[in-house]
């Protein structure tokens, strides 16, 4: 567990970012920071805007989306002011990304070794043969046995887990300061997921890369994250260090979300806690607190957007809820 923001500048600081698709702010005023070597998990359900936040950082938004407000500071530089050409120099070198679908994210017609070496060559960091050597070395570091032979194979010849290792090798070969991992293990089986998570934990220390992890899986968060930002309907509702979030969830959404997951030591066959209703569609997000339509604590004053209140006086653990004092009522 690292101390957050211990004086030095964060790797990534997102400040009141809003990203809109066709007039709807899918990401609505999201702020978060990722410190050096830190793993920050951005957790939320589908459609909450977590992936769009990541794509905004990478400058890889789909055609219909655009950033409408806010700043994205990578090592103090505002990425939003960058031209496409300047972004190319950033991507793969200072920030890189791992996607959910490893097989679809790799070029099927290119040998995996070359794909791993590509970012070194593009950024002019190594000669062709030098890059190839380093690619093989990187492949063996991500746990691909017999890396020299594998480097000459095509993605279709590798399993899904292997492809995800290759993706990680691609992302980390240029030793980026920040790795954005968008649901990196969701498409994988549990045993493979455990391998990939272990690998990410090892590499982040070896390479000293900060990780922004996008996921919906609370188990994955507990396993790898230092800090957690919980997102609901375009906004961050709670943020804090991982222990605090799991032990003292202070936004009703976080608390309910954690209680809906069946525990391995819970009483079997009992009725599970559930969050009634479903995530509202972007076109009818409620005014004020957006969890209001499903929240058991909701009252009239929830029509006002709640600010980030510190939890128990801890400035690093905040939750955006007017009624934290009544959390006990939820039992």
């Amino acid at each position: 567990m690292r101390d957050v923001n211990n004086g030095d500048r964060p790797i990534l600081a997102i400040d009141k970012l809003s990203t809109a698709i066709g007039g709807n702010a899918v990401v609505d005023g999201v702020s978060l920071t990722v410190g050096a070597g830190e793993v920050v998990a951005l957790v939320g359900e589908s459609g909450c805007g977590k992936s769009l936040t990541a794509l905004s950082v990478m400058g890889l938004l789909p055609a219909a989306a655009r950033v409408s407000a806010g700043r994205i500071l990578l090592l103090g530089e505002d990425l939003l002011g960058y031209s496409e050409k300047e972004m190319l120099a950033v991507r793969g070198k200072s920030v890189s990304m791992v996607f959910q679908e490893p097989v679809a994210s790799l070029d099927p017609l290119m040998r995996v070794g070359e794909q791993v070496a590509e970012s070194l060559i593009v950024h002019g960091e190594a000669s062709k043969s030098g890059a190839r050597e380093r690619a093989v070395e990187m492949l063996s570091r991500v746990g691909i046995p017999d890396a020299r032979t594998r480097a000459r194979q095509y993605p279709a010849e590798l399993s899904g887990g292997m492809c995800q290792r290759v993706m990680i090798a691609c992302a980390l070969i240029a030793r980026p300061k920040l790795l954005i991992a968008d649901e990196p293990t969701t498409a994988l089986d549990v045993t493979i997921q455990a391998q990939i998570l272990t690998l990410m934990k090892t590499l982040r220390q070896e390479i000293d890369t900060a990780i922004l992890l996008i996921t919906h899986d609370m188990g994955v968060v507990a396993d790898i994250a230092d800090r957690v930002c919980v997102m609901y309907a375009g906004r961050i509702v709670e943020t804090g260090c991982v222990d605090a979030i799991f032990e003292r969830p202070s936004h009703p959404y976080t608390r309910l979300l954690l209680s809906t997951i069946p525990k391995l030591n819970g009483v079997r066959k009992t009725r599970l806690r559930s969050i009634e209703g479903s995530v509202p569609d972007i076109s009818d997000w409620p005014e004020g607190c957006r969890f209001r339509s499903r929240c058991p604590l909701a009252q009239d004053d929830c029509g006002q957007v709640p600010p980030d209140f510190p939890v128990d006086g801890d400035a690093n653990h905040t939750a955006a809820c007017w009624h934290m004092d009544r959390l006990g009522e939820m039992a």
Binding site: E45, D189, Q195, M218, T260, I261, R268, L272
Partner: protein, 331 residues
């Protein structure tokens, strides 16, 4: 689980093999043994879970029981009748008491039919008249927690959780005895999952349904299942009552699966021993000769390469197929 009465479903030594065709003449070049000798029973009102990684054959086994894929060999007794020995139209009639819920509620519903017509479909096919259909559809909507107004909606106007409720209502239309649930909650958002799990448990209680629950999420399985069958590469690795399997896993694969689940609790996750299982499952077209788990097993011994283990009692009321754990039994 009354042992005295005959079980609702009994599957004996089920095998499903698919030919792989290739070469320019399109001849059979290999055989994928997707399901290779599975025996199981599901009692009335019981939930039996098939767990394993993708490609292990658990879904194929479910499809073979439903008749959606052809079984290569084996026997399937449903309500005491050997289904596969019957003529096709008789099989169809027998299978009316069996229904299925697929993973993805979007593709399980015809987008051009209203919810009412979707739910009524099995009734239409069974020749119900309009009045009866209407009454039954209303009943079913209420049963799964939907409102009568939903009848005239189209599937794309509903949320994921609502659509899965529609799928469940349709499966219940003809009052089946057994429902094969193929990953019924994995495509749903975390906050919706527990709603659907609760619904499935409530329906089982109210209607005395039996479930064959195919899933990879062990925490869900532990919550809902009475008995668990762990499948690896088309064969059963371990089976037994849920509590016994989870508390005393005997097969190294079961142990690995349990160890792989990231717990939604950072403190216990930190003290958990590092995950040991390496590699990917081998292709079912080319399984190891002896124990199917051989290539990934951390504890294997010489004999494992030649002798295929069979299920043996573990002493915990469970059965496992592992040579190492039963050295004595194999002499």
């Amino acid at each position: 689980m009354s042992e005295a009465r005959q079980p609702l479903l009994r599957v004996e030594d089920l095998r499903v093999h698919f030919p792989i065709r290739g070469g320019w003449r399109g001849g059979r070049v290999a055989t994928v043994k997707a399901v290779d000798g599975i025996t199981l029973e599901v009692g009335a009102g019981e939930t039996v879970a098939l767990v394993g990684e993708s490609g292990c054959g658990k879904s194929t086994a479910g499809n073979a029981i439903l008749g959606l894929v052809k079984a290569t060999s084996g026997r399937i007794f449903f309500d005491g009748t050997d289904i596969l020995a019957q003529k096709p139209d008789r099989q169809q009639a027998l299978r009316r008491d069996m229904q299925v819920i697929f993973q993805d509620p979007v593709s399980a519903l015809n987008p051009k039919l209203t919810v009412g017509r979707c739910i009524a479909e099995p009734l239409t096919i069974a020749g119900y008249d309009r009045k009866e259909k209407e009454r039954r559809v209303d009943e079913l909507l209420e049963l799964v927690g939907l409102l009568p107004v939903h009848k005239n909606r189209y599937p794309n106007e509903m949320s994921g959780g609502q659509r899965q409720r529609v799928v469940i209502a349709r499966a219940l239309a003809l009052s089946p005895k057994l429902i094969v649930c193929d990953e019924p909650v994995s495509a749903l958002d975390v906050s919706i999952r527990s709603q659907i799990i609760n619904l499935l448990m409530r329906l089982q209680e109210e209607l005395g349904l039996s479930y064959l629950f195919i899933a990879h999420d062990l925490s869900v399985v532990r919550h809902i299942a009475d008995r668990v069958i762990v499948i690896y590469l088309g064969t059963i690795a371990e089976e037994g009552p849920t509590d016994a399997v989870f508390e005393h896993p005997t097969h190294p694969y079961t142990e690995a699966l349990l160890a792989a689940i990231p717990l939604p609790d950072p403190r216990s996750q930190r003290v958990k021993p590092p995950f040991a299982l390496e590699g990917d499952p081998p292709s079912p077209a080319n399984p190891p000769k002896g124990c199917p788990f051989l290539t990934r097993c951390p504890i294997h011994m010489e004999d494992c390469a030649t002798i295929r283990p069979v299920l043996a009692d573990t002493g915990w009321n469970t059965k496992a197929a592992c040579l190492v754990r039963f050295k004595a039994a194999y002499g």
